[in-house]
């Protein structure tokens, strides 16, 4: 092992390229507590440029991007998944993130006819159907209603969907990265529905709202009235700023705990109806085929789920044996995460990890297991439990009920095989 910290180890550098960033960080860091330096570290003993010269002025970057050394923390696309990149998906680099808030600039995208550009001045929101007064709002109107602010996860129904039949993609970004978690500001949908008046709708327990976007795909979905009046937000800010174009600027729907497809972006119309529309996105798509050929529809809630984000295939152990942190994230559409267990032996034994903060309602939780690795093989798993007592199932448990062709709602326990060299692989275990 090199004793010059700034020099890359040739052995590590020759590996798959996406390991190289981590390898550079790891080289030289192997010295455990109490180890003796071979010689004085020139990064300390020699005066460095940044300690003598000047950095950038405050006018250099009116709106900044991450420092260049973090250039691998980016969304990634898997080109064979879809016919083109317009009706397609990309993936949040969750292997490199910590905490719970997803930076909007690398938060995943899923479009059906591309990310459209819709100016606030051109924006209109219509409420029609079984309402007392069909209404049209401008963007400016929406900012005049009382607001709410909440953190929620948005998980694509298809997250982990490519893993139904087996271990396929070798990276947590690809197996679990169709998710982001942001702090939203917006107007409760119930406030807007009240403005239009629901007396005409009559018995609300039987009513629905049909929501659609301004884009060509429209992404129309039907939502039962009790959810619409509960916690759905018409949001215009995420993580403190306006929504990104690709996340629905200027207005999107936030449907806490429910599958991402229903979080309609570029929201343009809300129709109160006495029946579900049974649109393309709730018949042909976002229906879950079972082993006998029948299919579940209206599988709205995303069940409790977790995954270890580090170590993982894109985040190998590069520091050698000794103290280390296993970390990951957990979430549930049913409410708060109350506990996450971690197994290093493929589920034979479990230990309870530490939640960084108390679980928040329908939002990501961060867990840590502060532990020691002695270079042994691990079959690393995590298992989420939510406030309803639901325990994240294994893939075998899910398959026993659903078969292999559900496509959506794969919340199985993930296994990483951590090897003696610190690399990790996506595997299935018995």
């Amino acid at each position: 092992m090199s004793d010059t910290p700034s020099e890359k180890s040739p052995g590590l550098a020759s590996r798959r390229q996406f390991l190289s960033g981590a390898a550079a960080l790891g080289a030289g860091a192997v010295a455990a507590t109490g180890a003796r330096a071979a010689g004085p570290d020139p990064l300390i003993t020699e005066v460095q440029d940044w300690a003598t010269g000047l950095g950038d002025g405050v006018d250099a970057t009116p709106y900044g991007l991450p420092i260049r050394f973090e250039d691998d923390v980016i969304r990634r696309n898997v080109d064979w998944l879809t016919a083109d990149t317009i009706s397609s998906i990309n993936f949040t680099p969750i292997h490199a993130l910590d905490g719970t808030i997803t930076p909007a600039g690398c938060a995943f995208e899923r479009h059906h006819s591309g990310a459209i550009e819709l100016a606030k001045d051109d924006y209109r929101l219509m409420i029609n159907g079984l309402v007392d007064r069909p209404l049209v709002f401008t963007y400016a109107d929406l900012e005049r209603f009382p607001r709410e602010q909440q953190v929620y996860f948005c998980e694509c129904a298809a997250n982990t969907g490519m893993e139904w039949a087996g271990a396929q993609l070798n990276g947590v970004q690809f197996t679990h990265g169709m998710i982001h978690n942001m702090e939203y500001t917006g107007v409760p949908l119930r406030t807007l529905l009240a403005e239009a008046g629901l007396d005409l709708a009559g018995d609300l327990s039987e009513k629905w709202v049909y929501v659609e976007g301004a884009d060509a795909s429209s992404n129309g979905r039907s939502i039962p009235m009790d959810k619409a009046l509960d916690d759905v937000l018409v949001a215009f800010k995420a993580n403190g700023e306006a929504l990104r174009k690709e996340h629905g600027y200027p207005v999107r729907l936030v449907v806490p705990g429910w599958e991402g497809n229903m979080w309609v972006k570029w929201l343009r119309r809300i129709e109160v109806t006495d029946r579900p529309v049974e649109s393309r996105e709730e018949t042909s798509k976002y229906t879950d085929t079972l082993a006998d050929g029948t299919s579940r529809k209206w599988t709205w809630v995303m069940d409790a789920k977790s995954v270890v984000t580090s170590p993982s295939p894109q985040a190998p152990i590069t520091h050698g044996p000794g103290p280390m942190v296993i970390t990951g994230m957990a979430w549930s559409g049913h409410g708060k995460i109350t506990r996450v267990d971690v197994s290093k032996d493929g589920g034979k034994t479990w230990e309870t990890a530490r939640l960084a903060q108390d679980g928040a309602n329908k939002a990501l939780a961060r867990f840590y297991l502060d532990t020691t690795w002695e270079g042994e093989d691990w079959l690393l798993q995590s298992r989420a439990i939510d406030e309803t007592g639901y325990v994240q199932p294994t893939k075998a448990q899910l398959r026993a009920v659903r078969g292999l062709n559900s496509i959506y709602h794969n919340n199985c326990i993930q296994t990483w095989h951590v090897k003696a060299n610190g690399e990790a692989e996506n595997v299935e275990v018995s």
């Binding site: 049209v136 018949t283 029948t294 299919s295 493929g346 007592g389 018995s430």
Partner: protein, 200 residues
């Protein structure tokens, strides 16, 4: 604030505005406009505006969606889900084609053209004869193969009841074997940028 919960924001939507945007069609046919078309009329339209992606017989090109075929495959290892084999409602076909197709030039088809193209898709699935005139009047004569193939989410009964139990912590299984590895498939995108080299 007026009328109790009301704030008096927004303005009344005009009938022309509602008509322009409120074009969804429900399973009972609500929302279908006047007009009609046959598969014979739809064939040249389909060839011109749809076949480049969906194939001349709606069988699909490359990775683009197949709209026909797959009858009886839903319980197979590799089901083929099409309008014919999977979609439960004809309304959805009309609504989706009318609103969102062709891909890249949506909302460019007249109502008659949509009727004709939908008729051609049905004909390609052997669901109607080529001279069947599809319209609001003949709508409910078309039988959808998989109309009864859907159940409402039953996870509460089929899964939650069994999985809301205190989980095992020790000696949970005797042996653990690796049964599948992602690197065998090797379909994960390779990264060709290292953070330091990509910097400029």
């Amino acid at each position: 604030m007026t009328d109790g919960a009301r704030f008096g924001l927004g303005r009344e939507a005009l009938p022309e505005e509602v008509a322009a945007w409120n074009v969804d069609v429900s399973p009972d046919g609500t929302g279908l406009p006047d007009g009609s078309g046959t598969a014979m009329e739809g064939e040249p339209l389909f060839e011109e505006t749809c076949a480049a992606c969906h194939g001349s017989f709606a069988e699909g090109v490359g990775n683009w969606p197949k709209l026909a075929g797959g009858d009886g495959t839903l319980a197979d290892a590799d089901p083929l889900k099409t309008v014919g084999s999977y979609w439960p409602y004809l309304s959805t076909v009309w609504d989706y084609v009318h609103r969102s197709m062709p891909f890249g030039n949506a909302q460019s088809l007249s109502d008659d053209e949509v009727y004709a193209i939908v008729a051609y898709i049905l004909y390609s699935n052997d669901m109607i004869e080529d001279d069947f005139e599809l319209s609001r009047e003949t709508w409910d004569q078309v039988e959808m193969e998989n109309a009864d193939g859907f159940i409402v989410d039953d996870r509460a009964e089929a899964e939650y009841a069994a999985w809301r139990t205190e989980p095992c912590m020790e000696d949970c299984k005797d042996t653990v074997e690796i049964t599948m590895r992602a690197t065998v498939l090797d379909v994960t995108p390779e990264e060709d940028t290292s953070p330091t080299e990509a910097a400029t």
